[in-house]
């Protein structure tokens, strides 16, 4: 009888252990997100400190507008807004499968302070029509030059983000991409941006 009690206690402790190790999960079915792009492995999880709270840049509530104005949910016709779970799915399937890229549209000084793992920094300014090298970037994103015209048939699926809902950098990048001919159907916008990302305690990386 005593043995049974000890066994039960032992089993209960075993069952509780993984929970204690991962109290803050991404979702009920997913503790963390792991994927590989080329030779690089990425792991995204959440901060396990249940008392953690934001301080600094992303804790601010009242940035002056202008310049920091609330952005629309739909930045352009055909561009879908997505959240964290869709973004993780995109990283695990499209980015890992080299059919998609996660684009950080912020200027390099922001990117240098921390970004979402596996993101590529393509500042909105680099996509401006006034950048004489804009085509080089579009081609790196998978567009093909046929004569004078860029063909976006095989261009990468993109998820674009910036600092958050008060930041227009992703909106500008999307506007510039669409003006350059990039199909809206190949673009999605992680509207919550880095602010929502860090607010959930998700992993960030430094370049």
């Amino acid at each position: 009888m005593r043995v049974l009690v000890v066994m039960t206690g032992f089993l209960a402790t075993l069952a509780a252990l993984p929970l204690a190790a991962q109290d803050v999960r991404i979702s009920e079915t997913q503790a963390q997100s792991t994927f590989s792009v080329g030779a690089r492995d990425f792991t995204i999880s959440r901060n396990q400190d249940v008392d953690a709270a934001l301080t600094g840049e992303f804790a601010k509530t009242s940035r002056p507008c202008p310049d920091f104005c609330i952005q629309p949910m739909i930045t352009a016709t055909g561009v879908r807004p997505i959240g964290e779970l869709e973004l993780l799915d995109f990283l695990e399937t499209d980015v890992a499968g080299t059919t998609g890229l996660l684009i950080d549209a912020r200027l390099p000084d922001w990117f240098a302070k921390g970004s979402i793992p596996a993101a590529v920094n393509v500042p909105f300014a680099a996509l401006d029509p006034q950048n004489p090298y804009q085509n080089d970037i579009l081609r790196a994103l998978g567009a093909e030059l046929r004569g004078d015209i860029l063909d976006f048939e095989n261009a990468q699926l993109l998820v674009i983000y910036d600092n958050g809902v008060w930041d227009a950098q992703a909106t500008r990048a999307i506007t510039n991409l669409i003006a350059a001919g990039y199909p809206a159907a190949k673009i999605q916008n992680y509207r919550g941006g880095l602010e929502d990302w860090v607010h959930l305690g998700l992993t960030t990386t430094l370049p």
């Binding site: 090298y133 080089d136 790196a140 930041d167 227009a168 506007t175 669409i178 350059a180």
Partner: protein
Amino acid sequence: MIRSVVGLFIFAVLLCGYIVLRPSDNGRPAAVETTEVTRAQTDSILGPVPDAIAPIEVVAAVQAPVRNTAPGLALTTDRSQMDETAANVLAGLGLNVERNQTAGDSDEMLEMTASVLSGIGAITGQTFNASGKPPAAESALELLVVQALKEGQNDAYINTLVNEAAKAGEISVPDILVTSEGDVDTAVLLNSIITQAQIAAGGAEPAVPNVTSGEGVEVRVVQRATEAEQYRFYTVNKGDSLGSIAVKFYGNVNKFGRIFEANRQILSSPNAIQVGQRLSIPNV
């Protein structure tokens, strides 16, 4: 007696409360709404993030090259920059012109582009190189103008030549050269070529004229708390192009972008200007 005194007191307290707590909007200067007209200014692409983004449907329609589908207009237009077009014409004439005032910006852009390309390469495992110089293939328009200038043709002849070729769909023209009548503003192109040749020869850049009167020009002064702000508007006349309006107000065709950005609400593309449109002219 006491009741009425207490009643009056409560009324006074409520009134004070209302005055203190009423929406602060009432206290804003009346000029605030007027400033909305000239908000979006994105002439410097590295400048502060703009607060107003034009409706996206509009931007999506500005792909290059575009066949204009507006009734009565059938010109093929593109978004080529005037200074580039002028430089190519001059190069075609055997004059070597540095790609002028944007040289500094271009270096910065090249650097940013190179960093973007290496970032994308690090993820995709491919290698990309920036082309090293901006694409500079001579367009059909440039070849046509070079040929005519070599032959020593006059401006009127070149204007007719360019317009006929454009209407026949043989050449694509920069969209800022399309006038309110749907013609090609060759004068602005030729003017731009001369200006650039002068700068290349060591001349000064054209001064910014201070246009405050003339046909279609309207100036409004709004007195704000600390300063008086001047807003200019221009009503499009027959034969105007976005390029010619930029020359009129800024002395430089390449500054057309400021006018275009400030008027995105009514201009679907730079070639869509129409007689009678009232354009806001941002201050330099």
